[in-house]
């Protein structure tokens, strides 16, 4: 977290032994810091480290945490930008952002619905094929991103196993719901794609 007070880090310990952070280097210089709560970090324990460092906007800063035995742990802030604080206007701004990213495109798509109805079966089949392709792409992309993020997480969390577990669970739940609603998971029969929703009897 970067603000006018300097840099604040949330640190979590991954080792089996408790870790004591004794000194901090930032950009290759020892710097004063405060730790809250102080003391050694037990396994998976967290603490907040505040460094009153005059960071430079848009530049890179490297932070090295040094333990009692002289082991070093590096963290790089690739591009320094202030961390946004919490306020009502900011909340509204992000809500608007959410609407524009999540709701508006769907709305825009729905505007084309009357036109889609005029397309024949083949046209719709083509569009659905496109959609399925897009969904398959999203599936691969999401998995890849999830696994990438997982490599950044602490080893103790077994993050990549978590990704696969979550994927498996979602598939299970989706499939379960699909069959519970009484429909074949293969989708509705092609003859009925004229816009009228199938409903269970």
């Amino acid at each position: 977290m970067l603000n006018e007070e300097g840099i604040t880090l949330l640190v979590r310990a991954d080792g089996t032994e408790p870790v004591q952070i004794v000194q901090i280097q930032i950009d290759g210089a020892y710097w004063v810091f405060s730790q809250n709560p102080p003391g050694a970090l037990p396994r998976l324990g967290t603490t907040q480290i505040s460094i009153p460092y005059p960071w430079v906007k848009d530049e890179t800063h490297a932070i090295t945490l040094i333990t009692r035995s002289g082991l070093t742990f590096e963290h790089v802030i690739e591009v320094a930008v202030p961390t946004p604080g919490f306020s009502l206007t900011r909340l509204l701004a992000y809500a608007l952002l959410g609407i524009y990213v999540g709701v508006v495109p769907v709305g825009l798509g729905l505007l084309f619905f009357p036109y889609l109805r005029t397309l024949g079966t083949r046209g719709l089949q083509f569009l659905l094929a496109l959609t399925i392709g897009l969904l398959a792409f999203l599936l691969i992309d999401t998995l890849q991103e999830g696994l990438e993020l997982a490599t950044d997480a602490l080893a103790a969390f077994q993050a990549s196993a978590l990704v696969w577990l979550a994927a498996g669970l979602s598939l299970y739940v989706a499939a379960g719901r699909g069959s519970a609603s009484g429909q074949s998971t293969g989708g509705p029969a092609t003859g009925d794609l004229s816009g009228v929703r199938h409903r269970p009897a």
Binding site: E4, V22, Q23, Y30, I66, T72, P82
Partner: protein
Amino acid sequence: MKPRKTNKSRRTLLRSSLLGSAGVLASQLAKPLAAAQTAIQAMQNEDAMTTVGDVDHARNGFDPYQILTDWDGGTVSTLPGGQRLREYNIAAVDKEIEIAPGLFFPAWTYNGRVPGPTLRATEGDRLRINFVNGGSHPHTIHFHGIHSAFMDGVAGVGRGSVQPGESFTYEFDAAPFGCHLYHCHAIPLKRHIHKGLYGGFIIDPDPAKHPQNVEIARSRLLGTPENARWQEFIMVMNGFDTNFDNENEVYAVNSIAHAYMKKPIRIERERPVRLYLLNLIEFDPLNSLHLHANFFDYYDHGTTLTPTLKTVDTVMQCQGQRGILEFSFAGFEPGIYVFHAHQSEFAELGWMSAFEVVA
């Protein structure tokens, strides 16, 4: 027709709100950037660039303020031929030392301290150094000076490595006069040095042998009234690679990062200052000393009585190089005068020091 109209109005609504709120959004997100930057400029914590806390010198068993001046003349006696004999006892000991507040380094030491004892003798003395290896690895003492091949203290040469539990006595005449050093020359060499096995070895000139420069020689000779005027300090520039990545995490003079910055070295303004400066750094090819607001004369290796560099404020030494700096604060305004490596990297990692000049 009706539904079409609805569509159109929906579209215009969407379009106008999209443009409008995009502007609001952009301005909102940009606002804190400027604010944080101006605040950072105002944040002036001038003594923030340092290590946090204090080193427990008592637990270390050595104090960087005492190391500055605790010359070890050994046990002095006279040999049958009239030559003065100095005997020293040095033991290699494994010891964990605190090199920066809270930061412990598994050092190998001579007599439990880094740097080891500062041996001080006079040109022409007979020196007998009884070395006991109480450490966990083979060690030696290699002196920079003039001696026989057998006394060279190098692994595989002469007496060679002294195994743990073994001992050996190095013996030779003190020559030439100057500011020298000793260090372990067991292999791997780099590790044996950077773990802490080194120390200062000063040979004062014998005034009788320098009729051209008797006064200068006397001022260098410990124990003379001429020498008592001087404020002499030994400064061993060193560093510690705490995570064994062949780069130093801590730089210092006499081992303790920022020690002389947090508590400056007291200097009496009217008395001249002489620094015995040694570079025992590993991994970095060079080290340096830069004195603020003053200039000094420099005697490379200390083996001459006239300066090898006159009126400089920065001097550079390669690994193992050393020399003598002479300067005076006479007539200066009392206050804090900083000195440090002019490699800013070293200064920021602990090699930052200061004199407190008092009237």
